[in-house]
Every structure is written in structure tokens, then in C-alpha cells.
């Protein structure tokens, strides 16, 4: 059994806690230490105790044995927590000086160049007019459509009719908005008559419970009506994606 534990140590390194447990469980208390294998066990114990910083005196069999006089039965490599240093290369100081001079020269050159041109700002693509496209504009003119005087007349009439229609619509909507505002004002007056506190709570812009901005109210988002409703469980086909953003 002890031999087994031995091989366990040598192959896997030391797992002190586990082994201590192991030995305490399996060695009977009255064991006398005579044979070499038993000696080895004690050796092992004392080593373990060193590793684990456990007080040895409390353990029955280890107090009598001097570990140093015994031949070493097993070895543990020392932990270094580092690796040997590399030897530093000696460089000629003249080369070093030349190198730094080169560096300085390069930077100076760059400074000179920048001072000559001034600061170059990153262009805003949206504001730049592409000369190529300007050229294209003259090439890509559509042939002007020739329309009859009747068609022009129809167009003008339709535009006028549209203007009247929209103004009528606007007036109608305005009237409704006024009614809505009036209804709310009435309600607020009535609420104030009922209880001043309720009225004040109704005018609050912040949440009455947390005294913070009421995130149940703002921001309000709404997706506008579309031409056709969304298709249930529609998987959007992947399109091509080309990033044309220039890098500066």
C-alpha cells in the first residue's frame, strides 16, 4: 500500500494534503517502524510536513525520526517561479548614437513636411462633391418630356385642388385637436375640484414614486403605418455588404 503511495508521489508530484489523509487513514496507530519501507513512509511524512507547514510534533510517528541522516528516498524539484536571464548583447555605442540620430532626423523631416502643408483635415464625405459625379451629371441628363398645353393645365389644376384639399384637411384636424385639448382642460379642472393632490400628481412630469424621470412615459417611439403588414416569421434574405468607408 505504501509502495503504491510512493509511485503516486513520484509520478504526479506532491499532493500533500491528499497523501496525509491517505496515510492517516490506512496506517494503524500501533505500527512500529522497522522495515525500510516503513522508514520511507516516515521520511515522506516529514517532507510533507515541511511542504505543508504543518506542525510535526502532533503526528505520532514523525517526532522520533531525523530526516537529514537518512538517505533521500525521493526528490522534489525546486520551484523557481522564473527562468534564467538571457545574456544581454553588447552594442557598439557609436551604432546606437547613429540610430538615434536617424530617428531624430526622420521626425524632423516629418515636422518640416507638416509645417509646409499645414494641417490636413479628414474630409466629410457627405459634404464633398465628387467631381466625377459632377461630370456625370451633365452626361446623364434625361431627355426633356414635351407635354401638351392640356397636360400642363391639368397639372396646375390638380396642384391647386390638392392645396385646397390639404388646407381643408388641416382645418378639420386643427378643430379636432382643439376639442381634445378642451376635453383635457375640463378634466383637469374637474380633478382639481375633486382633490388638489390628485391634480398636482396629474401635472407631474416626473414619476411620483421614484421622483425620477418617468421612463414609462418618455421616450415614446412609434413605428408608422406601412403599405402591407409584416409577414409572420419571415426570414430576410442576406444581401451583399460592401463597406466603402475610406480609412484615414
Amino acid at each position: 500500500m505504501i509502495n503504491e503511495s510512493y509511485s503516486f508521489i513520484t509520478s504526479n508530484g506532491i499532493n500533500g494534503g491528499l497523501l496525509l489523509f491517505f496515510l492517516l487513514f490506512f496506517l494503524p496507530r500501533e505500527t512500529t517502524l522497522h522495515s525500510t519501507s516503513e522508514m520511507a513512509t516516515c521520511m515522506l511524512f516529514s517532507k510533507l510536513c515541511q511542504f505543508q507547514a504543518v506542525k510535526v510534533s502532533s503526528i505520532f510517528c514523525c517526532s522520533q525520526i531525523h530526516s537529514q541522516s537518512m538517505p533521500l528516498w525521493f526528490h522534489t524539484a525546486q520551484k523557481l517561479w522564473a527562468e534564467p536571464m538571457k545574456k544581454k548583447k553588447r552594442v557598439d555605442p557609436s551604432i546606437l548614437a547613429a540610430r538615434s540620430a536617424k530617428k531624430i532626423k526622420r521626425i524632423e523631416k516629418e515636422i518640416k513636411r507638416l509645417a509646409k502643408i499645414g494641417r490636413i483635415l479628414k474630409p466629410i464625405d457627405e459634404l464633398e462633391i465628387d467631381n466625377k459625379k459632377l461630370k456625370l451629371a451633365s452626361e446623364r441628363k434625361r431627355e426633356p418630356t414635351i407635354e401638351s398645353p392640356e397636360a400642363t393645365e391639368m397639372k396646375a389644376l390638380l396642384t391647386k385642388e390638392w392645396g385646397r384639399y390639404r388646407s381643408r384637411q388641416w382645418r378639420y384636424e386643427y378643430k379636432i385637436y382643439q376639442q381634445l385639448v378642451h376635453a383635457q382642460q375640463e378634466a383637469l379642472v374637474e380633478l382639481r375640484a375633486e382633490a388638489e393632490e390628485l391634480y398636482k400628481a396629474a401635472l407631474q412630469v416626473i414619476s411620483s414614486t421614484t421622483l425620477l424621470i418617468d421612463y414609462a412615459l418618455i421616450p415614446v417611439d412609434f413605428q408608422g403605418p406601412k403599405l402591407t403588414p409584416a409577414i409572420q416569421d419571415y426570414s430576410v434574405p442576406d444581401g451583399e455588404y460592401v463597406d466603402t468607408t475610406r480609412k484615414y
Binding site: P144, L158, E161, A187, L188, A195, S208
Partner: protein
């Protein structure tokens, strides 16, 4: 009665001592209510009702004038635009084909022309069918469904028992001490209709109605998501109806009041 009022005041004082919250001041108003109700045989109550609106999902059909003007705008847009890449390519290929015919040099190169592309796109478009503007719920006239009348606003009605009679009304409940009217409205919705997510449009009521001696304050909310599951203790049924259908369900006086804040737009 005096004893009862005394009890209320003492309990209030202890409550105030415990929570020095601003909101608790609201409780004070309840005392006024109790005292005023002494002479009245019916306890005067405040109600909060919530008008949940589902916005139109699709735009309304254009009328004749709108359609004509839209066509005119599209025409103007086209006339004033420049040629696109595709159109330039079409023109170029046309010219190339003409010169090729003159030279009569037959090249068997299979290249995709702009016209081929157009055919391809058209075929792709034909494969795609958009969802219909009229849904199954429209054909069945299923007024419980949210999938009906996609181009109109829908409003939530519930069948609540009021003084022994069933009425189709907006979900409402009585105001409790310590609540703001909006909190009451939120409670009305959550207790009657289950887990429906809405966005309230402010703390202020949008209108009020007086049904002596009670007063109802209406709040507007936008429907977001969730299915209405009516709580059987408070409401027997629910409906999603348009503005014009409201009159089929609500009784005259009530319909007149709610028309004030449900605009015909």
C-alpha cells in the same frame, strides 16, 4: 361615524410617521370623501378608465385625389431625375447591339445583359407575395382579434358589471386612497385585462365623464404587446373595435362622452 373617522385619522398619522413620502399626502384627500359621503345614500366614487388604442399597422387606402396627386409627384420625380447606372447601361448595350448588327460579327459570348437582369428581377419579384392587407379576422369579423382592420385604430372595450348591469365600457376601476389617477388606470388595465403592455400618454386624464354621483377620468394608452385575457371577476368579455363600431356596443350617454377624446382621424 365619528369613531370611524377617528380610526382613519389615527391610522393615517401612524402611516405618515412611518413613511415620510410625498405620495402619502394623497391620503388626506380621502377624508374629505368620507365626510361628504355621510349625507349621500350612494358612496360617491372616482373612477379611472383607460382607453387602449392599437394604432393602424398599415396606411389607409389613398382616395382618388390623393392617388392622382401621388402619381403626379412620381412623374415629376422621374422627369427631374438623372439617369441611373442601370439606365446608362441599357442605353450603352442598345447602341452596342446596333453597331454589332452593322458589323455582323457574331460573337457567341454568353454575357448577362441589363435586359436579362431586368427579367431576373421581375421573376424574383413575382416569387414574393406581400402579406394581404385584409386578414382572416376581417373575413370572419372576429372582433376579439387584434389582426383586424389593420388600417384603422382599434380600441379596447370590456364587458363590466356596473350596478347589476353589464355594460360595454373602457376598462375602469375605482380610485383607492394613496393612488394617483394614472396609477388607478394602470391598475384597472392590469387587473381586468391581464398582462397587456401599453404606453400611457401622460399623467393627466384626457377627458372626464360625470354619471351622477360618480366621476370617471379617462386616460389614453398605446397598445404595445400582449394578449387580453379578461379577469372573470371583473369583466365577462372584451372586444377590439374601431371608432365607428363603438356605438354598436356602448350606451348612448357613454358613447357621447368617449367620442370627446377618440377623434375621427
Amino acid at each position: 361615524m365619528a369613531l370611524r373617522q377617528w380610526q382613519i385619522i389615527t391610522s393615517l398619522c401612524s402611516f405618515l410617521r412611518r413613511n415620510k413620502n410625498k405620495e402619502i399626502i394623497l391620503c388626506v384627500s380621502s377624508i374629505r370623501h368620507f365626510s361628504s359621503s355621510n349625507s349621500c345614500h350612494h358612496l360617491r366614487q372616482l373612477y379611472s378608465a383607460v382607453c387602449v388604442e392599437r394604432h393602424p399597422i398599415i396606411g389607409a387606402e389613398k382616395n382618388k385625389l390623393e392617388q392622382r396627386f401621388a402619381d403626379l409627384m412620381a412623374q415629376l420625380e422621374l422627369e427631374k431625375s438623372f439617369l441611373s447606372d442601370h439606365e446608362v447601361r441599357l442605353i450603352k448595350e442598345k447602341q452596342a447591339a446596333l453597331t454589332e448588327n452593322e458589323n455582323k460579327e457574331e460573337t457567341n459570348k454568353e454575357t448577362e445583359t441589363a435586359l436579362d437582369l431586368e427579367d431576373k428581377w421581375e421573376a424574383e419579384l413575382k416569387l414574393f407575395t406581400p402579406a394581404p392587407r385584409e386578414t382572416e379576422a376581417d373575413y370572419k369579423n372576429d372582433r376579439h382579434s387584434l389582426e383586424r382592420k389593420l388600417d384603422k385604430s382599434l380600441y379596447l372595450l370590456v364587458k363590466q358589471n356596473i350596478e347589476g348591469k353589464d355594460h360595454w365600457i373602457l376598462p375602469q376601476t375605482t380610485w383607492r386612497n394613496g393612488e394617483t389617477m394614472r396609477q388607478t388606470a394602470e391598475r384597472a388595465l392590469s387587473s381586468i385585462c391581464g398582462d397587456v403592455k401599453v404606453t400611457f400618454l401622460g399623467n393627466a386624464p384626457c377627458a372626464f365623464a360625470k354619471f351622477d354621483p360618480d366621476k370617471i377620468f379617462f386616460f389614453k394608452a398605446w397598445y404595445r404587446e400582449g394578449q387580453v385575457i379578461p379577469n372573470k371577476d371583473f369583466a365577462k368579455d372584451y372586444l377590439w373595435v374601431t371608432r365607428t363600431e363603438l356605438s354598436e356596443y356602448c350606451f348612448g350617454g357613454y358613447h357621447k362622452q368617449i367620442k370627446k377624446f377618440i377623434p375621427p382621424l
